[in-house]
Amino acid sequence: MRGLTRTGDSRRAALLAGALLGGTVLAGLLGGCTRPPQDDLRLTPLPTLTLQGEQLLVTGAGPLRVTCDTPAGPVVHTLTQAGQVPVPPGAVACEASRPGHAEGRVTVPLSSAPPPTPSTPTPLTPIPPAGRAGLDTPTPRGTLRVTPGTLRLGQREVWTVTADLRGLDGRPAPDGTPVTLIASSGAERLRAVRLTVNGVARWQLTPSTPGPFSFTAQSGGWQARAAAVARTGVLGGQPRAVFTGRILTLGPLRWQDGALPDDGTPVRLRALTRAGTVVWSADVTVAAGQVRAEVPQVRGAVTLSAELAGSEVRFTWP
């Protein structure tokens, strides 16, 4: 009897569970078929754009995008709410829109600045940038490094000039800050502009003349100096000079450590008279450690001079 009751209970429980499951499935299906609730229709006011001196006053709801067209392309500001943005220099027109709702944009045409007078061309030295991305920070500080301190010419060595630029708060200068880098010695002056990445502007260069070089870095009101020396690549031993007809073959040329100069290293050949006057010269390059040049008939030449990476060797003119 008890066994029968237990069987009936379990059957009832199974029926109840089945009914519950069926009800859940049915409710799910009915719920899935019902129309999803529709969003309420909301009217969002269009943004407005007003020019106030050098600033643009932007009003409107939600995130706003202000795009000003300049000769260098669009300058884009994204605002989380209404506010002011500076007018970039040379802007032709500015637009305000809500991102993703391009049809509701408003435009303000701007008068562009007159061109510079011909008598005062813009200087090449960059002026401290102003405007976005924190570029209007006060005079930054930084360091200038040049490695290696002594460079041997003609031996695949390059100077790496590193300007590490930081703001007064010690944080790296914003990416893209231009830094003017100048390397100069008595006879040579090299110049480049590099932009900072993580506060560092880097320049690699190879000088062509030996001697002490001074390095200058400028960015805005910041300036730093450094020095390094380029040493002559000293040739090891006296190379052979052979004339075959009018072809002069010079070499093999070797540095003091026995290595051949790189192919393409420039060599200046000169024929000198007894008084030291240059009567002929030619610029050639090294190929497989040798130099070949076609030499014309030179009257009065007594010495042949070959200058390579600041190192000079002299031979008797044959």
């Binding site: 067209d69 392309g73 510079p116 090449l124 480049a192 932009l195 990445v197």
Partner: protein, 420 residues
């Protein structure tokens, strides 16, 4: 019931527990490391992808004569021809570098092309990355002369386009015709743009296009003509004319070479001399990015009958804007294909090319684009039958060799299509 004293875990058990904890910690650490590494790899990959996309935009077709010098004002000191070419290259490369910097966010090349205030403005406009599309074309520059040995000024009349990235493509495209006053300065034997200002700008003026009667088209497509000699042009055009085909559709190559522009001009001139019309066709879809190449081809093929700028990818506002700009920037009437044209720009379309399946929509200003003839012999009979049954409308064939043989005689397909 007496409680059993809790037995202390043996050394082996403790070692097992320690190993288990170490394995769990190692797995968690490894997962975190893998996540960090994959995030960095993804970041680098996406940056490299943006740079590659921007580079393809910034690269100009070699064939495009994108800057033409106008007459210099009298009494100005002008540079020699070589320097003028250096200036032209430097000025156009400045635009290309700007396009690249906007697209990629990589500003390292800007100091090589800009100096002074123009460099600051270029850096300010491209940092942080805007992802904007910045294009230019149709430069007509007036050399205002050298102020000193290292300073040159010019006035440029050009077209510019800019659009911002959006979730489903470019948004808010703006096209202008601008007049710019530009100063370039030489430093270290390199000319750089140091100052530029837009002195005047206007919106492009579009005009409607009269419909072209495409009903009479018996057009044939010529491909790979960039390096053709005059004899090759003359021979091919004679073959086309003898077969009674007209117009000639010159398919632009995917990668134009330096010769493409010259060959296009020569082909149009020789075809007109032979009494044939020319249409210039593009295979890739018409997009905002592809506008400069279409405009350049339209200008180079001056005197041609029409321009087929490629299938329209969709009927969006963006595509309508591209049609409007293309109509305003070059002289040839436009014949479109692909997606339907929006009503607001329908007046700017001179005709339509459709595939043969949509016969019901064919009108007098529409033509069929014939599919390529099948190569399998048992399919050719059916194709010939279908070609013979085509209604009497204009058509555009993909190949000359399918219609005529080298001797000038018609092939079976040519006879079927030309009803001979």
């Amino acid at each position: 019931m007496a409680l059993r004293p809790r037995s202390r875990a043996g050394r082996a058990t403790r070692l097992k527990r320690l190993a288990f904890v170490l394995v769990v910690l190692g797995s968690v650490g490894g997962t975190l490391g893998a996540l960090l590494l994959s995030a960095q790899v993804f970041d680098r990959l996406s940056r490299a992808s943006a740079q590659v996309d921007a580079l393809s935009l910034a690269r100009r077709p070699a064939s495009s004569a994108t800057l033409g010098w106008q007459a210099a004002p009298p009494g100005t000191r002008q540079p020699d021809g070589l320097t003028l070419e250096d200036l032209r290259q430097a000025y156009l490369l400045a635009f290309s570098e700007l396009t690249y910097a906007h697209g990629s966010g990589d500003t390292t090349g800007l100091p090589g092309r800009f100096g002074g205030r123009a460099l600051q403005e270029a850096v300010a406009a491209t940092t942080p990355r805007t992802g904007a599309l910045v294009l230019d074309w149709g430069h007509r520059a007036t050399p205002l002369g050298l102020l000193d040995d290292r300073t040159f000024r010019l006035q440029d009349d050009l077209w510019t386009l800019r659009a911002l990235p959006g979730p489903d493509g470019w948004q808010e495209p703006v096209v202008r015709r601008e007049t710019r006053s530009v100063t370039l300065q030489q430093s270290g034997r390199v000319w750089r743009v140091t100052h530029w200002r837009v002195t005047e700008w206007r919106a492009p003026q579009t005009r409607p296009s009269p419909p072209l009667p495409l009903k009479g088209w018996r057009a044939v497509t010529l491909k790979d003509w960039s390096d053709w000699t005059r004899d090759e042009w003359t021979g091919t055009l004679r073959r086309v004319r003898r077969a009674g085909l007209n117009p000639v559709a010159l398919a632009m190559p995917d990668v134009p070479t330096l010769n493409t522009g010259r060959a296009l001009r020569l082909g149009v001139r020789l075809a007109r001399r032979a009494g044939l019309d020319v249409v210039v066709t593009f295979g890739a879809p018409l997009t905002l990015e592809s506008l400069p190449s279409r405009v350049t081809a339209g200008l180079q093929a001056s005197g041609a009958l029409a321009l087929l700028p490629g299938p329209l990818p969709d009927s969006s506002l963006r595509t309508a804007q591209a049609i409007r700009v293309l109509r305003a920037a070059q002289p040839l009437p436009l014949v479109t294909e692909g997606a339907p044209v929006r009503t607001e720009v329908r007046a700017m379309i001179a005709g339509t090319v459709t595939d043969a399946s949509s016969v019901g929509t064919i009108t007098a200003s529409a033509a069929f684009r014939l599919p390529a003839a099948p190569r399998l012999p048992w399919k050719q009979a059916g194709f010939l039958e279908a070609a013979s049954a085509l209604p009497d409308r204009g058509w555009l064939s993909p190949s000359l060799d399918a219609l005529t043989d080298t001797g000038g005689g018609l092939t079976p397909l040519g006879r079927a299509l030309l009803r001979r």
